[in-house]
């Protein structure tokens, strides 16, 4: 039955990838406007518990997803206020958001720690298609949000590179002074995409809760996926399509330790495997800190820099 384990593993990779795609797309939109939001992990956690509480009390998954997404946007709103309106240091504000989001999730989730959500998102059924060996469970065994996340990523790519607002968004991240001189409001663009980014991250966090975790554990629900999403944006070169493949790859790596354990393959320590995505994150953050590397990777050139119209 070894084959089955690998099929399940692949299906799991795609599933984990959903959260990654949504969270990383959120980060991508935010960063394309020139705002670096390191608080993704905190937003994911807060969104997860918010969706849990909403779904648990109302019994509706859709309300859970909605509330979770809005919670994400709300937290991103704090980041936008601090960094765009008040022009605070984006790294400091982002780290503060991680701490705040984690603390808030801890506070909200204390009464339900370890509790299982009553209703969860179920995979869509494609009838006989889902029963096709190998590709059936992988391609036709996912739920609607997973399919939606891939669609959102493809639409995002078209929006960024083939539309007028996308052009303006990319220009804002690269050269806000130019956008300002054209009479467009840099602040408004940055706030909008930071909020939209938070909304996507929130959706990712809600989905993680309602489709994956099923039980709320403050310490292990997100498990650092927010940080991995940030790294993923870097490795994808701020391009949505590449991000899909990156997310699947990361998703595969994330579940690999469990599969290997199930297969009783022990020559690679599973702790080492579990470490890999985080190691990749570390590498990505180091790369981000070097200006020459940033340019090579295709980072928005004004990423992390508050915009002030130069007075003369």
């Amino acid at each position: 039955m070894n084959e089955n384990i690998w099929v399940l593993a692949s299906a799991d990779s795609v599933a984990i990838a959903t959260t990654l795609i949504l969270a990383a797309l959120g980060a991508l939109f935010t960063e394309r406007s020139g705002v670096l939001n390191l608080g993704i992990e905190g937003i994911l956690l807060t969104a997860a518990i918010s969706s849990f509480l909403a779904a648990d009390t109302s019994g509706s998954i859709w309300l859970g997803l909605l509330i979770g997404s809005l919670a994400g946007a709300l937290l991103a709103c704090i980041h936008a206020l601090l960094t765009v309106v008040l022009r605070a240091n984006q790294i400091v504000a982002g780290l503060a958001l991680v701490i705040f989001g984690t603390g808030l999730a801890n506070f909200l989730g204390k009464p339900v720690e370890g509790k299982t959500v009553t209703t969860i998102i179920h995979p869509l059924s494609f009838g006989p298609l889902s029963d096709i060996p190998l590709i059936g469970p992988i391609i036709f065994g996912q739920d609607i949000i997973t399919y939606a996340s891939i669609a959102i990523a493809i639409l995002s790519s078209l929006y960024l590179f083939r539309s007028r607002p996308g052009l303006e968004l990319r220009a804002t991240g690269d050269d806000p002074a130019t956008v300002d001189a054209q009479g467009l409001s840099v602040a408004s663009i940055r706030i909008r995409y930071t909020l939209f980014g938070g909304l996507l991250v929130g959706l990712g966090g809600s989905w993680l809760m309602l489709a994956q975790s099923a039980a709320w554990h403050q310490a292990s629900t997100t498990n650092g996926i927010g940080w991995i999403a940030l790294a993923l944006v870097v490795f994808a070169g701020w391009r949505p399509i590449r991000l899909i493949f990156g997310a699947v790859l990361f998703g595969f790596t994330l579940q690999l330790p469990f599969t290997l354990q199930a297969e009783q393959i022990t020559f690679i320590p599973s702790a080492l495997m579990q470490m890999l995505p985080y190691l990749a994150t570390l590498v990505a953050l180091i790369a981000l800190s070097r200006p020459s590397m940033r340019n090579k990777l295709g980072a928005p050139q004004a990423l992390g820099t508050p915009f002030v119209r130069d007075e003369r």
Binding site: A177, A181, G183, R312
Partner: protein
């Protein structure tokens, strides 16, 4: 070719004195904290005319232009367009009235193509972008004004002159009738200036109005139909008529007194070699920044390095100063090797270094004049401020630094005075007497009065037998001060000429990479 087009444009296409002005400013007043930037300024430009705003740095010309395009709003006074009063609340409002500004620092996204840059911010576009259709539209606009551009090219790959053309096309694409050109020639080599002037004439022929902002007298006389001179925020004179203008008169209006920018060169024989550079090469991140540079600077000689910004000037200065280790080659100061020995060693050999970024690398902005002076003095563990104070007082007097005393904070000095403090510190010698002075863009951003002083100080240092390496992007400065001129292009010295016989055209061509010596 250029001459003919000049002739054509001098034609009297707006002789009627009563033509309604395309754009006028009436009694404009603008205050910034502590500064009266514009003091009841009147200004107007006619259709098809080049009207120049001339003035020193800080005279208020950029502020006025910023109000004419909607970037700032006047505190009092008003602006009319074709005789009708208009409110310019933002750059977008300016564009809607057909007023566009071409900024000194280009407002272009380097990663975007030319076409993407041109259409950025246009509201008449559909949600979906059709690349080839856009490129055709941009080309059509550019060609109708004789401005050749490649709409599909990435802006980051273009030369400075080409980027400026993209800016102009962008303004025209947005339907600008009045173009404000803010110091457009500051970044161009002479050949590109010619090209720009041709473009300006093509635009005025088409009935566009040009507001030309500059402080360079020669080009102002060449391009302008009328000139308005600003000083300390006030209009000090109007001059009209092309070619009839005396630059001396304009200079007087601009500065408020007669000025004499010295063009003194070493008359005495120069001494021994103080700086010897052999086969110097530098690679940064796999890219060659300097390649095979060899030259000497003698005692009592000023060698000027000319070149367009970014051709290796900064790296050359920093390598000589010991801040960067070269990939290969050697540097000797007063006969001793200084390669790879670091900045302290170079200074002990008699090097003094005036970096371009005077408040960033030159002085510590938050420290006093005295403390800044102490930085290059003795390196004992305990700082003896009392012993250096008399010297600080003496230098403040000698260099005519406008400061409250040795405790004056460097950041609070004007640009000219900060530069004087830096020169005073470097020229007066630190732990060892100064024998070699490396100065980078010493007069950049200074007003004419301060430029005069700084240049005189450099001349005095040369007369005193110090060897000077002058690295400057201001070609006039290099031409008028240097005993010998070297042109740096893409990290190589492509041209060398004695200062006295240097020709602007030849040096300019070398700066643009069109070396006639064939060793480029």
């Amino acid at each position: 070719m250029t001459n003919t087009s000049h002739e054509v444009a001098k034609g009297p296409h707006h002789e009627s004195g009563a033509a309604p002005s395309a754009l006028s400013a009436h009694s404009i007043v603008k205050r910034f904290p502590g500064v009266l930037a514009n003091d009841s300024v009147d200004f107007d430009v006619l259709p098809g005319e080049v009207h120049t705003l001339l003035g020193e740095n800080g005279a208020g010309k950029s502020t006025l232009a910023a109000m004419l395009c909607g970037l700032y709003q006047p505190d009092s006074g008003y602006i009319t367009r074709n005789g009708e009063r208009i409110a310019l609340s933002s750059p977008r409002a300016g564009l809607q009235h057909g007023i566009a500004m071409v900024h000194q620092h280009f407002r272009l996204v380097e990663r975007f193509t030319v076409a993407e840059n041109v259409i950025l911010g246009s509201r008449d576009l559909s949600f979906r972008l059709n690349r080839s259709e856009l490129e055709d539209r941009v080309s059509a606009v550019a060609e109708s004004f004789g401005l050749p551009i490649e709409p599909g090219a990435t802006v980051g790959d273009l030369s400075v002159g080409q980027r400026q053309r993209v800016e102009i096309v962008k303004a025209l694409y947005q339907g600008a009738e009045i173009l404000l050109l803010d110091e457009p020639t500051a970044v161009l080599v002479p050949a590109e200036v010619e090209k720009l002037f041709e473009n300006v004439h093509a635009m005025t022929q088409a009935g566009k109005s040009i507001v030309f902002i500059s402080h360079k007298l020669g080009e102002v006389v060449e391009i302008s139909d009328r000139v308005t001179v600003l000083r300390n925020g006030r209009v000090t004179g109007h001059v009209s008529g092309r070619g009839t203008t005396d630059t001396r008169e304009l200079a007087r209006l601009m500065v408020g007194r007669d000025i004499e920018l010295t063009t003194q060169r070493a008359s005495h024989a120069t001494g021994h070699e103080v700086l010897q550079i052999r086969d110097l090469s530098l690679n940064v991140g796999g890219v060659s920044v300097l390649s095979d540079i060899s030259f000497n600077v003698h005692a009592g000689e000023m060698v000027g390095i000319a070149g367009v910004a970014g051709n290796g000037q900064k790296e050359l200065a920093e390598t000589i100063a010991g801040l960067t280790s070269p990939t290969s080659g050697s540097i000797a100061i007063t006969g001793s090797m200084s390669t790879d020995r670091g900045p302290i060693h170079a200074r002990e050999l008699g090097l003094a270094y005036v970096p371009e970024d005077r408040l960033g690398m030159g002085l510590v902005p938050s420290m006093s004049i005295l403390d800044n002076l102490l930085l290059t003095r003795d390196r004992n563990f305990v700082v003896d401020r009392a012993s250096v104070e008399p010297e600080a007082v003496r230098l403040i007097e000698q260099f005519e630094i406008k400061a409250n005393g040795p405790e004056h904070i460097a950041r609070k000095l004007s640009g000219g005075n900060a530069q004087k403090v830096l020169l005073a510190r470097e020229l007066s010698g630190g732990r060892s007497a100064t024998k070699l002075l490396v100065v980078c863009s010493p007069t950049r951003g200074l007003d004419v009065g301060a430029i005069e002083t700084v240049r005189a100080l450099l001349n005095d240092a040369r007369s005193a037998g110090q060897a000077i390496l002058l690295i400057s992007e201001d070609l006039d400065e290099v031409m008028s001060l240097s005993d010998r001129i070297l042109v740096l292009y893409r990290g190589s010295i492509v041209h060398e000429t004695p200062g006295e016989s240097a020709q602007l055209a030849t040096v300019g061509a070398a700066m643009a990479g069109l070396s006639t010596e064939g060793n480029a």
